[in-house]
């Protein structure tokens, strides 16, 4: 690495709502489109857009697909189980935050 690279600052782009196509999401998570489609069918992730070629996914979907992949791989959870686990985890996260807000009362 030369000194020029040391001071190089990389500017990325923030993935906003509807920032990723199906292909980009699949590549980013290294999974097949069929599997992502099955996640959409199970409402684990919810793209914007009516038909597959117009589907656009948010950065949050990226996190959920990767979590789904880990749950399936590490714990052998099926799609319905993944959907349930992710929803419950989200609820716990919200409750924790509310509790945290309320607890110093």
């Amino acid at each position: 690495m030369n000194s020029h690279e040391l001071f190089l600052v990389h500017t990325g782009e923030v993935i906003e709502e509807g920032g990723l196509t199906l292909g980009q999401l699949c590549h980013a998570c290294d999974v097949h489109a069929e599997w992502v489609i099955s996640l959409v069918e199970e409402s684990i992730i919810e793209p914007q857009g009516e038909t597959i070629q117009y589907w656009r996914f948010s950065g949050t979907s990226l996190g959920r697909v990767r979590a789904a992949l880990r749950l399936q791989r590490d714990l052998g959870v099926n799609l319905a189980g993944i959907a349930l686990a992710l929803d419950l985890l989200e609820e716990i996260e919200n409750l924790r935050l509310q509790m945290h807000v309320a607890e110093r009362g």
């Binding site: 690495m1 040391l6 001071f7 190089l8 600052v9 990389h10 500017t11 990325g12 782009e13 923030v14 993935i15 590549h27 980013a28 998570c29 290294d30 950065g59 949050t60 990226l62 996190g63 990767r66 979590a67 880990r70 749950l71 791989r73 590490d74 714990l75 052998g76 686990a85 985890l89 935050l97 945290h100 807000v101 309320a102 110093r104 009362g105």
Partner: protein, 316 residues
């Protein structure tokens, strides 16, 4: 020098455990320590350790070889494999497929080698292939989202050299943190992922944003919460006080008869952006202690003057 790892102890099993016991124990502990599910502080390290132990014990070949080391080793003891180690064992196929082999310990590598370290598992293709995308998490401070910032992160990834040896390569990237970024959002850095093959493009790097805990602000999406201590008379009589915000202090009007836990909203004082968040001030009524004669007298005066029963709703 490396430490002996007691895979049975890690999995909470006796050495005579059956393959079924091993599977059951793995499932149970994996649920407990899975980093997506667990809130245990060292869940990630525990889960990696568990994955490594399971990788060895679930595979009868590897388990037999490991058992051959004998039961007299203590976890953490300095370990050197015996001279004729693994003679007659052939670690074929099994394993390395599921776990993240890159995360396994030196102990594991010494015993079972670094086989199966091909990064993507894809067969070499003739034509150019785009490199894999990679992922990392970056922890920033709340103020970085307010002002924008530059953060440098060090990424490590196993890479294979021309001789087929695997080395962990580190590289440091300076990253611009855009103003208004929220927890859980991703930044994509085009071309900063794994290198492409056969002249293919590099993959992208996705950075997930996480916030470091702040000593008094809490963040939820774009909104910020602040617990604000107030005295009983400030809450009862109302007043104007200074409150901190990440952009400097502002004056806040406390209405008379404010209750414990009341939420006051400072519109647009949350994280910046197209739709900026709000700052919620949560009132925490703080009692002065009755340590001095003067304070005691003041409390006694209140007691005499006010007909106040805080337990009225309990019917006593």
């Amino acid at each position: 020098m490396m430490e002996y790892k007691d895979y049975y102890k890690i999995m909470g099993l006796a050495r005579e455990a059956s393959q079924d016991d091993i599977k059951r124990s793995y499932r149970k502990l994996a649920r407990k320590y899975h980093p997506d599910v667990s809130k245990e502080a060292d869940a990630e390290a525990k889960f990696k350790e568990l994955g490594e132990a399971y990788e060895v014990l679930k595979d009868p070949e590897k388990r037999a070889a490991y058992d051959q080391l004998g039961a007299n080793w203590q976890a953490g003891q300095d370990f050197r494999p015996p001279p004729n180690w693994a003679e007659g064992f052939e670690f074929s196929g099994g394993g390395f497929t599921s776990g993240d082999a890159g995360a396994f310990s030196d102990f594991f590598e010494q015993l079972f080698g670094k086989a199966g370290f091909h990064t993507s598992g894809k067969a070499t293709r003739g034509g150019p292939a785009r490199g894999q995308d990679s992922h990392a998490k970056i922890h920033i401070n709340l103020v970085d989202s307010f002002l924008g910032a530059t953060r440098s992160i060090t990424l490590s990834a196993p890479e294979m050299d021309a001789q087929g040896h695997v080395q962990v390569k580190h590289r440091t990237l300076n990253i611009k943190i855009p103003k208004g970024i929220k927890e859980g959002q991703h930044i994509r850095l085009t071309g900063q992922g794994h290198p492409g093959e056969g002249g293919g493009k590099n993959g992208d790097l996705f950075l997930e944003i996480a916030f470091n805990k702040h000593s008094f602000y809490r963040v939820s999406e774009a909104d910020i919460y602040l617990d604000l201590p107030v005295s009983p008379w400030e809450a009862a009589l109302g007043t104007k006080i200074k409150v901190p915000t990440p952009e400097g202090s502002v004056d806040l009007k406390i209405p008379a008869n404010s209750k414990q836990g009341s939420k006051l909203r400072l519109k647009g004082r949350g994280l910046p952006g197209q739709a900026p968040g709000d700052l919620y001030v949560v009132l925490q009524i703080t009692l002065p202690s009755a340590e001095t004669e003067k304070a005691k007298a003041a409390y006694q005066k209140l007691q005499q003057e006010l007909d106040f029963n805080p337990r009225k709703s309990l019917g006593v």
